[in-house]
Symmetry: C4
Subunit: 194 residues, 4 copies
């Protein structure tokens, strides 16, 4: 089984998740600039989630370029990842509507954590099929970003109960770490072509 | 007519159905953990429906890999399947919002039943075109899963009026039966390539 | 410019329109069977619109298989068609929520009429580029279905103010006329291949 | 990395944005023709935004046909453009619901402005990779449309506080300027093929 249809389906789901989040930005009935103020935190959480979903799409894209074939296990690992990503609009709306209250902030981090774990499982499933010497395995290498992110989420979640701004700052920091698209796979791909 | 555009359209519809369901998880206005409690049944029914749609996508994917060409009949059999799948968000929301009340639980089972029948019709339509000796016909074989599932739904629907937990357990059990992606078609495909 | 991306975009829009309509089926808060009764007309109008969108997708699919290249005019004629189709969820919800009241029934017919005209314009634009001897021009021939449908809509719209059941019956009858996927283009395509 | 998956993802997001806007057209509970009157401004702003998104899809399509490969920078410049386009349903709903009040009209223009800037950045990123003698660079030439549009938006935004009809007229005028799909790239593509 080829990766094309899996990629197309994942693209579809990611495109919908990223766009559906905007429905949480409820159209204000007032026409004054002040009407935008309560929307501001929703907007900021929308921006952060948009960036996160962009990162996932980017890395997903890179990962499957390095993958040759898809097995049943990879299909389900991919659906598992999409499941957690599909909860982004929910936690984004909750965190935004409550001005970074503790529980929604922690819930946001929990979904981030589960998505990171699901991504890791998917990566393992692909490497398991492709082999330890495969393009993807070499490209990922020690994968310090993939290993550091869940640790930072785990630190941020309890911190949400102390100060939710610090927790949110940590979420944004992890996004920043990933923002640079993974040059490892691109580099390995270029090497191969030489 | 090739299968690509039919697959792309089906992928699009399935991707949207699977993602739109999350809109039933209404963002709670409260910020306490207790606010998540009324969402729990909606969440559980969301998980079950997500798994079901994942199974349908998986099997649909496998089926059309074994199909060569698409006729008008197959197009409409496919749209008929998509129609019943498109009702998943509705019954999922209803079952979740009412903590497994009898009627919504039975309605959920009815949509599952109709989708299973629609899938069976689609399968017949493809085999009818491909022939009894086709890859798909051989791969499916006796199709005990496809025949057992509607029977289990038919048993579960009246049981919803006795105890909706048993009915829901049966729905989950059928999903579990299908969770293992169908190795029959993969096996036949590999045989052919040899 | 090739037709693939235009087809992919149209598929995306059609897939979303067809799926978004289900959001008009509001989850009832009651758990009794009677709770489904007010949803019934919404459901019936959903079924009719689902069939109509299926027909449009089918015919669109056939038409672009016979089209070679896409010009700027065809792109905009296609967007114009998608615009009217995107109003289906709105008129479907309105007709369904008001048990076939006159104005919503007439509005439903108006959108059907405009979509039919938009489809006709798109067809003309493609034939204009492909030429009078092209596959599509030959396949369509006299196009009596394409010419009869707007006439029937024009008859049905004023009838909605007399008896909205007759008008709705006419809408369903036109759908029935089209339900059989257009064998003309398939026939011509097969001839060419010989 | 090829452009196909980026185009497919962008198509998905644009298809969803264009379709989700129709959800702002709330189904009226009344059945009289007068019920459509409050929907009229929402409808008009829907038409304008539909045309704008059609223009963006068209130009995006043309631009990536002239682009060979995609870098990480281009991926993010594209996501940045999609971000601003994803705010169209929000500002469209707001402007429509308030009959062209000043602040929503200005906000609508601001999102138009940011999208135009994001498009310009994306174009620069592609030309930066493809080179100054590339197909795209030659095709775009002086790009007076791309440079005039942000200026007109900048004029229209403060005008929204004087007379929101003039501002809206300017938005519509810019759309009109772009409506003719960019013949420059098509011409260059044809030249190359000769």
């Amino acid at each position: 089984m080829k990766t094309t249809r899996l990629e197309a389906f994942s693209d579809g789901v990611l495109a919908i998740i990223i766009t559906i989040m905007v429905l949480e930005l409820k159209v204000p009935h007032s026409v004054e600039l002040a009407a935008l103020k309560p929307i501001l935190p929703v907007f900021l959480s929308y921006v952060l989630s948009f960036i996160y979903l962009g990162i996932y799409w980017n890395n997903h894209h890179h990962m499957f370029q390095a993958a040759g074939q898809v097995s049943g296990g990879i299909l389900w690992a991919n659906l598992h990842l999409l499941f957690w990503l599909s909860l982004f609009p929910f936690t984004t709306g909750w965190i935004g509507e409550n001005h970074l209250a503790s529980i929604p902030t922690a819930a946001y981090g929990f979904v981030l954590l589960m998505a990171a774990i699901a991504y890791y499982i998917l990566q393992r499933a692909i490497i398991g099929r492709e082999g330890r010497d495969s393009l993807l395995a070499l490209a990922i290498g020690k994968d310090w970003k993939g290993k550091l992110s869940p640790v930072l989420y785990l630190i941020a979640i309890p911190l949400a109960f102390v100060n939710s701004w610090i927790a949110s700052g940590l979420y944004a920091f992890v996004a920043f770490l990933w923002l640079i698209p993974d040059p490892r796979i691109e580099r390995e791909l270029e090497k191969r072509e030489e």
